[in-house]
């Protein structure tokens, strides 16, 4: 049954060779990797206004223009910097790999942890914003925001468990539809005004409460910076591109930057022209309402914005598992996260991402303004580390033209570092503190994991002289066998017979609750006439493991140091799932306790049970 569910969710397994076939070009790579950055148009500008309007009223629109321009400059700088990373690191991994190779493992792990946190927030913020678009247009669904958000995460999880290419195809088309729609809206909106349309005065616009302050501008700027999260996704995902992957990746990065420029800049212009006051509603939907009324284009903008935000969350679904698996392969995360799943995606990372993002959305009630306090700081930490790493790399390489390249990455490093400080400072109380604590905790855990794998590796490793010493071709110890039996039946006799074939030194072992039952089993056993001795122990606590271990340690058993003891446990293999609960599953408990002892091997001997009806209708079993 489990297999069937899995088949439905994940689809049929793919061979290794199919891997290259799953890779993407510009046409599908652009929508799947850029949707995070593109979709932030839906909340970045809006949240800039939500900071400014309550304090400086109408003055907010003017300040928004300045902030938008500076963010677009930042975008251009990042694009130039990341082009150089794509060229130097065609195998992907982005900040983690770049920082690790050039600045050392601590910087690498820091970048990795910061980025991991940000991927999770990408899912939480994008989905929450998507739901906000929807509930701005359809207000009656507002009370169900959290539920809708979690349902969307589950859908994304299933989609991604089914594999990369299918997701890019399904998710590619709406991204283009979104870009198309917003461009139409920008053009139409500007023409409208040029033709003399005068928008109604903004509603609920507060008067100036305080004078404009640097700190206010910086807080608004911090919110605006969320527009730039997702730019790094392209450089992390270079190996996901078809060959020549560097070329495709750079082309996607360039197109992405241009699209953000047009959409983010254009929607800022519209907000300015139409003086929209979001107040916790979705700005793009409000603008569309002003420009198009409740016509087709209004629903078109709402729908495509909603969908592009879901796609944005999907960006994290390609980036996060790849980052984690990269870390896991080097032992910095549980190894399970490094395994490619049936459909060649990273199942465990996908599931982990979904769970953590859902928890965040539940805690913050799927409110974008609340979640935004945590966002962007992680990604700007990783930007800084990656750019610093590149700067060091160029400096050390001294290759032709290194100075020009070092300057670009150097400026990138300094600017993004300043942004980190600005965000951490201005958003500290609004949630950034959580990230500031979480990232060091993650780093600590990551090094603990690495340390453990190191210790395991050293214990497993054999030096050449140890291999000689091991002398595997000689039997260096005696294997002794103990067969715990509850009663005399087919299962216990099979176990005893098996025991004889693997050792000369076998005892049967039974635990009795009282003298009477001890006598009973002894009589039955003796009647079998087996040359294996039966040991019976009385257990006042009705337990098997304790008396067994006590017996092994007793003088009676005469255990020689170095001997191996094999304990044979019978197990019913049942035909129907519900039959499992009908058999005392003490086997698992006994096995777990015994395996804590290094000289004990546990052998599980299955007895295949036949179908109930078959047995009951077969005279052989009467």
């Amino acid at each position: 049954m489990y297999k069937k569910i899995r088949r439905v969710l994940v689809g049929r397994p793919l061979k290794n060779e199919a891997l290259n076939d799953q890779k993407m070009g510009v046409l599908w790579g652009l929508p799947i990797l850029s949707s995070d950055a593109i979709s932030s148009v839906a909340y970045a500008g809006q949240e800039v206004l939500m900071v400014l309007i309550p304090v400086i009223g109408l003055g907010a629109y003017r300040q928004m223009s300045f902030i938008s321009v500076s963010i677009i400059c930042l975008l251009m700088l990042l694009m130039l910097s990341y082009r150089q990373i794509i060229d130097s690191y065609p195998n992907g991994g982005g900040a983690f790999v770049v920082a690790k190779e050039n600045l050392g493992i601590h910087a690498g792990v820091t970048a990795g942890a910061a980025l991991a946190v940000d991927y999770i927030l990408t899912v939480a913020v994008s989905i929450s914003s998507g739901v906000e678009q929807f509930t701005t247009a359809f207000k009656e669904f507002k009370p169900y925001s959290v539920l809708i958000a979690c349902a969307l995460v589950v859908l994304l999880m299933i989609g991604n468990l089914r594999g990369i290419r299918e997701s890019s195809r399904i998710f590619g088309i709406p991204a283009y539809l979104f870009i198309f729609g917003i461009v139409i809206m920008i053009v139409w909106g500007i023409i409208n005004i040029k033709r003399g349309y005068v928008p109604p005065p903004p509603k609920n616009m507060p008067a100036v409460v305080e004078p404009l302050s640097i700190i206010l501008i910086l807080r608004a700027f911090s919110n605006g910076c969320t527009a730039l999260t997702g730019v790094e996704a392209v450089s992390n995902a270079v190996p996901n591109f078809k060959n020549p992957s560097k070329k495709y990746a750079k082309r996607v990065l360039f197109l992405l930057s241009m699209i953000i420029l047009i959409l983010f800049g254009g929607s800022s212009v519209l907000a300015n022209l139409y003086k929209v006051n979001p107040q916790g509603n979705a700005m793009l939907v409000l603008i569309a309402e002003e420009i198009f009324g409740h016509g087709f284009m209004f629903y078109y903008i709402t729908a495509t914005t909603f969908i592009i935000l879901v796609m944005a969350a999907n960006t994290a679904y390609s980036g996060f598992p790849m980052l984690i698996s990269l870390m896991a392969k080097e032992g910095y995360a549980p190894r399970q996260l490094s395994m490619r799943g049936d459909r060649l995606s990273y199942d465990n990372g996908i599931i982990l991402l979904s769970i953590v993002a859902s928890i965040l959305m539940i805690i913050f009630k799927a409110k974008v303004t609340s979640l935004l306090g945590l966002y962007a700081i992680g990604v700007f930490i990783s930007f800084t580390l990656a750019q610093t790493g590149m700067f060091v790399k160029w400096k050390n390489s001294q290759e032709k033209g290194w100075k020009y390249k070092a300057v670009i990455n150097g400026i990138g490093a300094v600017v993004t570092a300043i942004v980190v400080v600005i965000i951490a400072f201005t958003k500290f109380e609004e949630g950034a503190w959580l990230v500031v604590i979480l990232i060091p905790v993650l780093i600590f855990m990551v090094f603990k994991v690495k340390k453990h794998y190191n210790a395991v590796m050293r214990q497993l490793r054999l030096k050449p002289e140890e291999i000689a010493e091991f002398d595997i071709n000689k039997a260096v110890y005696t294997n002794r066998v103990i067969v715990p039996i509850e009663s005399i039946n087919r299962s216990s006799l099979r176990a005893l017979r098996y025991a004889r074939t693997i050792s000369e030194n076998v005892v049967a072992f039974s635990v009795a609750i009282d003298d009477e039952s001890a006598k009973k089993i002894k009589e039955k056993y003796d009647a079998l006439n087996i040359d294996i001795p039966l040991i019976t122990k009385y257990s006042p606590f009705r337990r098997v493991v304790d008396p067994l271990l006590k017996f092994i340690e007793s003088a009676e058993y005469d255990y020689q140091n170095g001997d191996m003891i094999t304990v044979i446990l019978p197990q019913f293999a049942v035909k129907k799932w519900w039959h499992k609960i009908l058999h005392n599953n003490t086997r698992y408990y006994i096995e777990r306790e015994l395996l804590k002892h290094k000289h004990i091997v546990v052998s599980v001997m299955p007895l295949q049970l036949r179908d109930d009806d078959f047995v009951l209708n077969n005279p052989k079993y009467d």
Copy 2:
């Protein structure tokens, strides 16, 4: 850690000998077994009024008197009938055993299923009513009813997991305090009226809506019958009494009946005198308010009523696990439910009861009126079957004075059967339908379980000629060993060495993802110079189980029918719990798949990992 939690919850394990010491006499047996019946005073009368008042207004009180008298007659009849059951069945089991032995297994299982359903409802109804007492006195807690109810069930569960005697001592005293308090209230309330006190006219009393109808009276009567649930608990629990257990049990049954008579009758008289209108509040608390105002006795009645209702739920905690374990011992329920736990109680039954009762309370929002639709039908089915069984028993025995005894049980059977029909008919739409469906479903499941155990028993059983044929002293087959290896390390070499000691016929088996990795492991393996052949298979799906099974079936392996194949799987035994998630737990998956094949034994070989710090600081491992 698990063990520590368990120790705190369940206490230290007790020896078998301690069992008799845990048994109860009249002093503690009365409160623990009778609290179900006694406590129903808190809701039975109240729910009679809640049916009558909305339809016939003030006329309800007069009708209530008639109904109370008929219920007290029913109680006397049941007491006489059950005295005879205690005499005939000193080993307990009540309806299940009586019906099974005299009417056949189908009647027995029906009685068992009906009673099991009713025990669950006893917990749900009593706890909900307890919470209702509390929230009638402290209205501000009404919104948290379900939460409080579930918390109480958890407390009861923990208390009962700690064992029988402790619960009876803790829970015994308040039962006496309750009886004392209600008796004081009855006496005081009647004296008050006699001295000329005139109670205020009843509030919100509706006018007569419909004329009095038979069906209305019967519906009210059905609610009143819930006062009698719990009478059977005494006969089920005879083996829980000290010796002479029959004498003690009968004495407790008699005292219990007298107490119900006084409390139920007396509180009906008070409701009548003071014209209390419950309207979803607790009747006893309202009466106490009228008689005592908000003084000490008001809080005393509220508190002791609350506590006695919790004790009533506790009755089910002694009755349900014993009933289920009785059925489980004969194979009619999963065997786990037959095991005595560490503290000599039936842990699994206790946990099951708690879970199902909590689910019911959550669904019905802990409302007594809603839950009462499901209640009492189960227990009256079991009454009917037990009495019918006793009637048949006397008829067949023809012992001295059998006619007199048969008449008592015969009347009991007929009357309780009529009550079953009345309840099922009048409460069908209010929830009885659920029970009417649930009981047959349970019966079906019970027989499925029994059938499975039968089939297993037949497969395990060995006839004398089969034992001879088994010929355990001869090795009748070859044991072959396969050691799957991932890489060459200490763990895999240990497994290979162990393999050599248990068989002459060993192969090492490795799965490679591509040719390169296959070549690599082959080279390393050859360098070891072992005389065990290495088989390498290429797996496009990166799986171990499928290629291994395919190899076993291949001509290359030359498997002879009847041979046993032992597959050795290494397993890390880790020092810290979180280390478990760091190792690919594919072992469990592989084991599960392999154990589906009857000729395969899985041997788990533990490698004890040392502490990380120890390894990393030890030059031996450098």
